[in-house]
Structure formats: C-alpha cells, structure tokens
Symmetry: C3
Subunit: 343 residues, 3 copies
Amino acid sequence: MSKTNTGRFFEDYRLGEMIDHAVPRTVSGGERALNHMLYPARHALYSSDAFAQGCGLSASPLDDLIVFHIVFGKSVPDISLNAIANLGYADCRWLAPVWPGDTLRSTSEVIGLKQNSNGKSGVVYVRTTGTNQHGQEVLQFVRWVMVRRGDPDAPAPETVIPELKDSVAASDLVVPKGLDFTDYDFTLAGEPHRLRDYTVGEVVDHVDGVTVEEAEHMLATRLWQNTAKVHFDATAREDGKRLIYGGHVISLARALTFNGLANAQMLVAINGGAHANPCFAGDTVRAWSEVLDTAPLDAPGVGAIRLRLVATTGGEVGALKGDDGKYLPHVLLDLDYWALMPT
Amino acid sequence: MSKTNTGRFFEDYRLGEMIDHAVPRTVSGGERALNHMLYPARHALYSSDAFAQGCGLSASPLDDLIVFHIVFGKSVPDISLNAIANLGYADCRWLAPVWPGDTLRSTSEVIGLKQNSNGKSGVVYVRTTGTNQHGQEVLQFVRWVMVRRGDPDAPAPETVIPELKDSVAASDLVVPKGLDFTDYDFTLAGEPHRLRDYTVGEVVDHVDGVTVEEAEHMLATRLWQNTAKVHFDATAREDGKRLIYGGHVISLARALTFNGLANAQMLVAINGGAHANPCFAGDTVRAWSEVLDTAPLDAPGVGAIRLRLVATTGGEVGALKGDDGKYLPHVLLDLDYWALMPT
Amino acid sequence: MSKTNTGRFFEDYRLGEMIDHAVPRTVSGGERALNHMLYPARHALYSSDAFAQGCGLSASPLDDLIVFHIVFGKSVPDISLNAIANLGYADCRWLAPVWPGDTLRSTSEVIGLKQNSNGKSGVVYVRTTGTNQHGQEVLQFVRWVMVRRGDPDAPAPETVIPELKDSVAASDLVVPKGLDFTDYDFTLAGEPHRLRDYTVGEVVDHVDGVTVEEAEHMLATRLWQNTAKVHFDATAREDGKRLIYGGHVISLARALTFNGLANAQMLVAINGGAHANPCFAGDTVRAWSEVLDTAPLDAPGVGAIRLRLVATTGGEVGALKGDDGKYLPHVLLDLDYWALMPT
C-alpha cells in the first residue's frame, strides 16, 4: 500500500461526514511580520498593539486573511487535492480574533454531494471550521469543489445540495468582543473617511499596483502550509507555469485597498467570490472596490460595509464582465465581503 | 471627492506644521528574524540576547536600520509621494533602543520651504521623529525632498532654509542607557579590532558581494511599510524597471561591513548621505568603508567611530567620484555615519 | 594588516585546537514562521505547541534543521571559507531541543589533519558543537573539509585521521526529555503509519516537487547566517551561477518527506551524507526515502527509524548510482539519518 496521500475521490465522501484536517499550527509575531512582508498591508488595527488597544482589544490580532489561509490550507489535502475546480465559497464568517500564541485546527463537514451526469466527477460541498486551542471557533466557511471519481463502479450518492444564502445578513456578523470605535484615531488609521462617507454604488480605484514574483507567491503559499502542487512545481502544468494560489491574490488586493479604504479594518464575512482568471508571476496586480451596502451594528461606533473587491491586471476601473456575461480577461478576482468600519 | 491619497503638493506644506504619520507598528522577534533573512546581518549585539546582556542591555534591541526604515516608511505617503527627488538627509540620531513588543509612530515637522525659480516645484525640509508607545523619542532625522506644485496659482511661501550641521558632533551622540563594553567579548563578536586599531583615512574593503533579486527588495520594502510605487510596480517607470528602495541598499551595505567592522556595533547617527546611482535587481552589491574620525565617549569602554560607507556594483575600492566631481557610475551609496565601538 | 577575514589555511589548524565561532544567535517564533515559509514543512510537532504538549514537551521546539543550519553557519567563516570541498559529515546527533528565546553558540574542535600528497591542501576534521545559553549541548557533528594551504613552506602536520563510526548506534540516540508518544494523535499528525508499518528496504516516493528560485535559497541561507560567497554572489563562479547551500536542499527534501513519513517527527542523528550534485535555481527538487533500519527506544511509545533521504531533480525513484558507482546526474543529496516515530 502506498504510504503517500493520493487525495480523496468523489466516492470517498459521505454526507454528514466530519473530517479532521491534519497539522495544527501555532502562530506568533513571526506570522504577523511575514504578512507585512508579503503584502503591502497597512490597516492599523493589524499593525499596532497600541492602536488595537485604543479600539478595545487586548492587542493586535492576526490579520483575518492569515487565519483564512491557514484554516483553508489545512483542508487542501483532504478536500481539493483531486479537485478539477474550486467552484465557490459562501457563508464565510470570522467568529473570534486569533492572537499570537494561538494554535489553529481545521475540520470540515460534508454538507452536500452531487454526482455529475457524465459519471466521471462530482461536486462536494463542505463547511470548514477553524478552531483555536480552547476549542473556540474562529472561522467558518462553505466551499464546493469538483472532484474526480476514482472508481467508475462506485454507486452514485443521493444528491443533496445545501441551501446557501447569497450573502451573510448584517445581523449574523460577529463583532469581536470589546470592539469599540468611539475613540477611533482617524489620523493614525491613515484616512478620515467613516462609514457615512461611503455611498452604495461608489467605486474606489486603489491606484497602486504590485508586480508579483515567483518567489513571493511560493513563500506565501508555503507559509500557509498549502501544498497544492500547481503552485510550486513548474513541471506540474503543461505550460510550465506555476499557478498563483487564489488566496495570495485576495491578500494582495485587500492590502491595496488601504488606499481609499484604510478604515475598513476587520473582515467579518465573505459572501462569495470567484477567481475569474488565473494569476501568474510577472502580473502587476491592481484593485478597485465597489460599495455594495452598509449596515449599523450593536458595538459602539462600529458599522459594517459590504464591498466588492476586484483584483485586475489592468483594464478600466469598474469594468468586470463582457457582453457575453463572462469576466473580462484582465479580471483576477471578484470578492464580496463585509468589513467593520467606524461610524 | 476621491478617497485615495494623491499625496501633498508643495503648496500644501506650511512652515512649522506638524504631520502625524499613519499606521503605527508593533515589532517583534519576527522583524529581527526577517532582518537576518533579508540582509547578511551578523553584528552580534543585534543577533544575541546573551551578547547584548554582556554589554549592559536588557536584551538584544532591534537593528537600528529596522527602526530607521519603519519610521521613514511611515513618512512616505505624507512627504515623498509626489517627490521628484530625495535630496538629502542630515542630523539623524538614534535616541533610544527599540525592543520586541514596542510600537513605533512617526511624525514630521516642516522646518523649511523654498520654492524653485521655475515655479513648478519646491524643496520641503522636514524633521521626522520616531517615538515608541511610551512617547519616548527613538530616532530623529532631517530630510529634504523636491516636491511638485499642484496648483500653479498658489502663492509662493516665504523661503526658509534651516541651518543644518555638516555632521553630528560626537558630544551630541546618544549612547543607550547602560551600555558598557568593559567585558566585551571580541571572540563572539567576530573580530579583534577595537577603536584604537582604526586610523583616520584607513579604507576597508568588505570583500563580499550580494546579487539582488526583485523578490528580495520588494519583500524588504513592504516589510517596512514603504509603499512608494516605483519599488513595486514594473509598469510605473518607462524602462519597466523597479527602482530598489535606497534604504535597502543601506541595510545591505551595512551588513556587508561586518567583515572588517564587526565591532562597529550600534549606529548612533547619520551625518549625511547620497544615493549616488539607482540600484536594480541583478546588481551585485559590494561595499567599502573609510574611517573619517574617532571620538571618546562617556560610557564605559565605549567610543565612537565615524565612517564613510560606500556601496558599489564593482569598481576600484576607494574610488568615489570622477574628474568632473560626479559620482562614478558604479557607486550606489555614499553614507556618513557614527557607530559605537569598544575602545 | 587587512581587517577582513580571509579565512584560515590548512597550516593554521592545530590538532586539539578549540575554535569559538562568532555571532551567537537568539531565535524566536520568527525563525519558526520563516522555516514554514521557506520549506513546505508540515511535521506537526514543529508546527503546533498543542501537539508538542500532547507528546510530553513543554511547547513546540524549533525544527531540528534550523538548529543544524545555525550551528553549521557559524562555523563557516572559521572552517570552510577556504574550503575546496566539503567532504562529508558523520556522527551528527541532536542532544536537546531548542526553544524560542534560546541563544545558540557554536564551537569546533580540530580532531584530525591530513596534508594531501601534492602539498597544496589538506583535510581538516572538526567536531562542531552547538550550545544554548545555559551551556547545554544541543547538537554535535563531525565534518571534514579540504582546505588550501596558504604558506607553501609551512611544515606538514602529523597525519591524524579520527576514527568515525559508519552510523550512530540506536543506543546512542538522545530522546528529548519527557517525550512520550503514548497518546500520539495520528489524525492531527496527518498519517496513520507507525514504526511497525515500515519495513526495511521499503522505498517511499514523496510525490511532490518544488521549483527553487534564487531569492528563496538566498533568503534561507542568509537567515542561517551562512555567508559563503558562492551562494550569494553571481560573479563568484565562472559560470555566473549561484550554488545553492547544501543545507537548503536537506531542508527542502526533509519537508517533502511529510507525504509518506509524516510521523518521522524528530531528527535525532545524521549518520552521513553526500551532496551528490550541485543544485541551482530553476531546479525542481523531488525526494524519495528508503527505510534502512528500525530500533526500539526507551521512551514510552517512541521508536527510531533510520532512513536514506534522496533528493533529486527527477529520474527514477530508487535509482541512486550508475554502473560506474557514481551518483546519477539528477541526484542532489544522499542523506542517512535517524528520526523518532511512534511505535
């Protein structure tokens, strides 16, 4: 029997099954520093303990996307090693901050299965949960991937497609305990704009561009212990190109939003997202945002802003899809998320 | 109104104005490890808690150039985003060590203004100060940049050019509290040479060369949260080249000086400096130093050495300027600084 | 007199001489995070404090190869700066875990000398020891290098060749104090295979490949404060190529073994090793292992597995040498080591 992981096939998943993902991870100030090194990240709450304390937290938590990448990365060997395509995510919510010293684990529940009509593959829906060393849930998201069948004779499972909301309701957003933007320091945060200064439909061009090198995306993807072959092995794809991990593009684009959205401090939910086109080394990544919604929240001085974040390799700001309804070739990412902002 | 920062223009500065720069930063052991990864840094006092404790400090402080880069980086969006040229620095002094866990902030005072005769730009002089979370000043320096005018009809300000010393007097150098080189361990430090072994006019060839990659300088410059476009965006310059942040060359060259100046432990002042020629990926950076002065100091066993640090991409050691008085094309950096050395 | 280190020549070594290597180093969570970033490292005991505590340790120690690289790197300026070749290592044992906050030092004893018959060089054997800030030994290894003679007239030393064992006996392996695999969590570790599931002679293909970039190996080698010129200076070799530090290949290959040897948690000894062929940027590194031996140990639930780790740039799994007895051109590394595994 081979001792190496060849990944699961479609027929290996059972509805309701819980999968414990391997390799828990303790994070430290090292991961925080690396996040600054890998992405042009400048949101003050993730940069300064003093600033975070001024916002009612005990210290600066780890960037929300660090948590996302680590929890996601752990699920790759069990969920997407044989994936033909990552089809989407939904209902992603951050549930508690992660601090230096915390240890993260990740588990997934199979919540839906649908064999494709060609019988050669199927769609697996999982709800992945990240927990800390106290068993407290820190992140939860649903994703669905198309997975190959290994055994052509295995019976097809009953089709179950989970009901997924189009977006997380503002009332379901979890505000970190103690968060208080009453004494928020707009000068140190970098911009004066508060929630009421943004109007639905407004588009913000984040101006800057970052050219990506092979070494950079591989360093990042490894840091999150995501070991999917296509990101690291130049011989894995026919065109000899390494595919940049989609999450790397998310972190790059989110960091670029500082210029215009410096006060969209904490991510609290991702409503959905699409990696519209692959990103490769040599691409210069740019970003623009569209304000989709705003909502009041219970925490003092804290409101929510819903944003579409679009990463591109150029093209016109605001242009997303062509007449055929397909993403324009220069669009890399179309992400719909909620962030917390002072009111 | 655009929400993104387009930077200040010459007419936006007022003499005596204080500018609080955004995005305070908490540093940790992560930044120290990264400094070792990015530069061939081997000075023992910044590498080992035990060695620093043997020199009277409570632990190993963060490398002085980490502090410089972070404080400088914060000032970029307010001072040099529309800069045509970084003209110089002067009177740079480190005032207190920075420890893991400290949070750094940065402010600048406008101390001089001089509109150029063409009316299209002007020179802005600022004194930038870095402070820690206790409000204690850790670094101060003056720099002056040429900035574009945005509004051609704005009135020219009164010309005020600050008086700047050619160099920091030895009596103005601040020695970290408690520093004591009486029991200095020359073996662990790496070289036997003490202050009296260096003579004014002596030139030291630091021998080693380091070839720079695009990924490396971008990782470093991002780590210091310096987001100036030309360093990251291959499409920003007509020649398609990314300009390497001048501070990256300073850190590289300073690290190379270990070989011959292993006991020039702490930087205490920069008297002045010029980025003689731009540095690009693919360059192999070398360094040589000239001893400019030495001075006794009050702390036990501690003296000061004034050094010219020249970074090059080759050429003859000791060769700096041509017959025309201009820097030779292979000279990248000409930096004049004071460091502390056992006597 | 030149102040820079030109390295020692063969005639500068004396049998029995103790050399204290410079630049002690304090490690932190930063180094741990960087190890994850530089290598696809996933062994759970080095990733999670909680997992390590479940194995009887107080926290997750630093990866054994971090310790090896740091202790080795310190010896380079005194031992191998003028080396013509690194000939081999033997009798390498880890003696105690290294924790964040520890400060590492390195010393070498000259245990053998043999002038070559051509009189132009000689072989120097040293036993290098790494110690922590408490003076406790954490690592010890023997290596031998061929070093140039500087002075043709210096007398040849008496030839002394140390007796070196072919391998470390299982009874000489040092198990970290408190290590207990009785409640080992195979799910979190990533694989179900325990010591008895491996049979001597079994070959494991670790499947994945990692393409190496110049920036990556230079970042790594600098992090370990190994400043040997050939790794950093593109002008140092006639072919303009930078040679990748052999230890970088060891760490890459060891990390790749996770897939198939996830439970070979801690390295306790290296019996010997050869860098069969040089590695350069652009190479895609793969790995396979052969089980050489297994042995019971005294600690609860802990056994030892002896493995041959072969790093390659392709070729057939299991193929090592040609008919001429020489390593095949695609073989980079042939390493023989002991690791601890749950029984």
